[in-house]
Symmetry: D2
């Protein structure tokens, strides 16, 4: 009989974790899956706390991901997919463990430390015929999809320049701070062992790379990355010149020390016929300018939104959608494909329209190339 409700589990994401909680609540908005198990924390008390909060079968609150992968794979009512919400260093082994057990994977970004690891995961997923989603969450916004539709429709012509930024202010006090150990304790993102060689580029600039690629289909060819660590172990600021395979140039600027900005992802795409601007902190609108014409402010929910983007809307015009809905849209696309797999249906190309392991690989390539460029004195480096 056809299944309608999926079963899923999570690795990482205890009750204190920001992102894991967003995953759970966003996924719940789709009302098509039940969280049935997890290994939420290496600390037993925290792990159990999540299980109790969600009323999980205590046997399915696993002490580690290996056990979880093994036992869930063995159950008849085992999970249909696992979501991996741990720090960067463990994405690779966890994803590998679940893939090997034949379980679909949905993983946080950046996918892995090295390109090789990412490619190994891809090969494994392909070999096993498994789905592999990567949570480039900003792509879940309706107006990012609208931007993609506009680009595809030719509304802005051929891309000729890109100017994107992702500015935050929250680490500005790290500058000049000498207590490195304390700094690392304050966030695993500052610990090279856990975050994987990059803080700013890995955490946020990678979102620029993906969002631009998602909207335009353009792939990076090379980068010239000027990173600033201000005396800390990892980069806190990045100004990167980029060249895409099609010859289009641009700038990716990201920072965790730019006062006045909170979570300021801004994507500006310039073409021969028009331009698009999208700002993550005002996600329900999109600026579109056609050559020689007034700038237009497009609003989610209005009749002029393309059917492809409008089909994702959850609320009418003027009723703000936010981060949860972006995550929920990511999950809706991924779980729709999982459900088809589970029910033995054929997946079309359209069913696979969510950020996947290829996007994950490309993200790791971008981070790796940027770090290498910077190490060599901000020279041009192939991606």
């Amino acid at each position: 009989m056809e299944r309608r409700i999926l079963r899923w589990g999570m690795v990482g994401g205890d009750l204190n974790a920001f992102i894991g909680d967003v995953h759970r609540k966003a996924c719940a908005m789709n009302e098509n899956a039940v969280l049935v198990c997890g290994s939420f924390s290496r600390r037993a008390d925290r792990n159990q706390a999540v299980g109790m909060h969600y009323g999980l079968d205590p046997e399915r609150v696993y002490p580690d991901y290996e056990t979880m992968a093994a036992q869930e794979a063995a159950r008849e009512d085992g999970i249909d997919w696992v979501s991996i919400c741990t720090p960067n260093d463990s994405h690779y082994p966890i994803a590998k463990a679940f893939l090997e057990r034949g379980i679909h994977v949905y993983c946080e970004k950046p996918l892995t430390f090295t390109v090789e690891q990412a490619e190994e995961l891809k090969a494994l997923a392909e070999e096993k015929g498994l789905l592999f989603g990567v949570n480039y969450s900003h792509s879940g916004n309706v107006m990012v999809h609208e931007a993609r539709e506009l680009v595809r429709s030719g509304a802005i012509g051929e891309l000729i320049n890109v100017n994107c930024e992702y500015f935050q202010e929250y680490l500005v006090d790290d500058i000049g701070n000498q207590d490195t150990e304390m700094l690392q304790l304050s966030s695993w993102r500052k610990d090279p062992e856990i975050s994987g060689g990059s803080n700013c580029v890995g955490d946020i600039c990678s979102h620029i790379e993906h969002t631009v690629s998602f909207i335009t289909g353009m792939k990076l060819k090379r980068v010239c990355a000027l990173l600033d660590t201000y005396g800390q172990p990892l980069d806190l600021n990045a100004n990167i010149l980029v060249e895409f395979e099609n010859g289009c140039h641009g700038v990716f600027a990201s920072s965790q020390v730019c006062i006045g900005h909170m979570n300021g992802l801004v994507v500006r795409l310039f073409g021969t016929k028009g331009a698009i601007e999208w700002v993550q902190e005002e996600p329900n609108t999109l600026k579109l300018t056609k050559k020689g014409q007034p700038t237009q402010i497009l609003n989610r929910g209005m009749g002029y939104i393309s059917p492809a983007a409008a089909g994702m809307e959850r609320l009418p015009f003027g009723h703000p959608e936010g981060l949860y809905e972006a995550f929920a849209n990511m999950y809706r696309a991924f779980t729709y494909a999982v459900l088809k797999k589970v029910n033995g249906e054929e997946l079309t190309r359209e069913d696979l329209d969510f950020p996947n392991v290829d996007d994950g690989i490309r993200g790791v390539r971008f981070i790796t190339a940027s770090l290498k460029s910077s190490r060599n004195g901000a020279v041009w480096t192939e991606v």
Copy 2:
């Protein structure tokens, strides 16, 4: 033993209904209650469809609210509260039915057609010792609470002028449209029998009244309301002069025919020491200006937000919250009080900090006075 998870039911809100769905998903975000029953539609097929979607016990998908009230009241595991998401005309009888059966009520606004009905509900709730929440949802926004904290702290001094608006464009085509029957079919809001004598004032201007009252504590004394129907049965546009009990004056302007505005609730409060501006479509920010100082843009999630408002935040700075979170915050406050009741705990004044039946009564008074003012030629009318 202490209960941790509540049980609730809904009247109205089939799968095609916008607001009912928001209630369900928002309430789910709090992870403290389970929907166990409902009477979602007078049409049996639609009613059952909701039950199936949520996997409800078919016996608890009731054909009408009277049955639901009676049977749930009789069950040992009956609902702790009912949410009423039906059109305006049925709020009163439904709320009354559940109150009479001893069940807490959470109801959409405007609460009733007449002030007498609203006061009767209040008396009944008091008599039965029941909680009665009214869903003035915009008050659930974190930055609306921040505005209230700022006013309470004296940051803007004594209120001297109020300028608020709630503009929408979506009914502009009704102007001049002669096919009244078709118009009414398109939305119950246009049908006087169902919406209760007002479209624009009842649906949206009432949000202005509540939000201002919520933030400032000021109560209206009288209004001078100039309503426009443009030939339709009900008002589509309203320009209202207001006087509060403390002598402060202002304007409430609302419209469903103002092109260029989607769901544009804007609250501007002017005091002797400062001013506040909040815009519903950009709910994560708040403008604050102190006398003679630069305007400040406050952002939800930042360290300067007052503890009372910050305690409601679900996401960090720069990660947009939207309508679902506002609703979820409404439910969090209401269900927190319900849970205490259920567990036999004493409720403090703070526990009761959610829009309640008194707000509902005041809203009906405002709508009634505005309609009366307009009927008499836009003359000053006591609220």
Copy 3:
């Protein structure tokens, strides 16, 4: 022989005066007239200082306007027009004196204290065949003309609602201030004897009345004005319901005590097919929304601006024009007509396209009606 350069004089506007100086510099931008005389101040030293600053013939720096009118009228090279930049109470006698001597008049607003005075000036100007400009300066903005062109073109359809405001903060400290004498000394606008019965409505709300009339051609029929004096002699805050002759309703809100606003004239016009928004503090842009379409941000200087408005531009796109240019545009239109008169040419209707004595009369009617409405308890009052 045809004249190319005009001669003009000024009453009021000593070197400390804000507005008189703007008149002189703005007029100079047109490079079509020379200031040759004036009576700039009742104080001899200040009067002479202006004359010396501009290198005027000392004999043409007059001790009073009567002498100036008499002597300039007697000279062969006398002034072509006089600009009156004095406080409100002297507009009437000064304008009358120059008209009687056959000299064209350009006068600050509000034109007079009473409607009768204003109508007398109109009759006198007509009798003498003289031009009479009134300085409703905001109408000089290019984008206000663009708004008028858009309305005329039918871009927004039939007007159905108007929402305008003019908010300033600079008098907020007057509230509660008991030292009335000192207050009056600080600005003649607060002195009923000089400003003429109104501060806020006369000074700024009158600009709303004119700008709306200028753009739409609509004339006010009646007003319901709720004015606040906060214990001062004159109004500091005004919330006014308005009804136009064509039945369109709206709100004019103006204030000198609304913190966070400097010189915030905002004109919002709603029609059956579209809407327009213009903000004085950002004068180079205009928002236009067509029904069901994205809001467009029109920019002065771009190719899509209508020829009538574009013909007024002084700078290319993106190079900000400001208050001086608005004043200069007022003068360009007025002096163009004066020059034609001086050269004995026939004036077309188009040549007379500047705010004139009829606008001045209408402004006084509006102020008078608003004050009367307020005195009678904010009741509807014919304009």
Copy 4:
């Protein structure tokens, strides 16, 4: 006897020229100088037209700059300074001619084609004891001065990142256009012989370099410039990584093909304690954010503006100043110094606070280094 009014002349700037006209009208706003001569065009008719328009002595409308320099230097009532408003290629010889004759110079930017030429002009000016102003006009804005005061006061701490842009759209149609000759005719800026090797960087990116230097005092050390010509002779788009002498990094992005932008100079400066943002198209405001605090919108004209910047204001709060005022402020500073020179007074360091030949040299260095960097494959190049 002490002079009060200066005499000046202009080279370039016929009646069709945009910038020359702005120079004349802006200078006139200061009411401290009279245009007495010029060589406005190589075309005799156009040259004479300017003379007639301003009522100049026909003998002082010179056929060429050499004659003008010689004859004005010989007159007792010769000009105090010359303003040079010609295309780039003639700045050097014209400035040289006037300096050699002992006449102060005010020149458009970019100053010269080569660094050597610029340095020669500097040496000549110093040798002759002459003033040399360079018209980096955006620095004339009050709020740019306010930004400088804020940086000097330590309000934003030590500079750690800079992100600036100057985007225009008006040349986007040049992309792919094959009719090179026609393109050059349409604007001398596209002709390498006249504009000097750069279009986009020379015309607009050079404004970024100067404005940042003006506000912060930081000097560029090296650049990595990725320029796009899109098949045209000169650059139309520039993405430049920059490093200042103090180690601060940043991006200068400028373009003449970025649709949706008119004259979009945006300066964003990030420090350890705060950040500043200024937008040329909204010149009357400035954003200031202190670490961890709400962003503040500073408005020109308000009491909190620093005395140094406030002293430059021409209009009160909320009354927009624009491009003319920025130019007028440039001239006010320069002519103030000229007047002191003319009157034989000692000039203080403060009197010399206007962009001068050193700024001109630095600008040419920046342009030269950017072009060299791009030619060599966008490699790091010393400035």
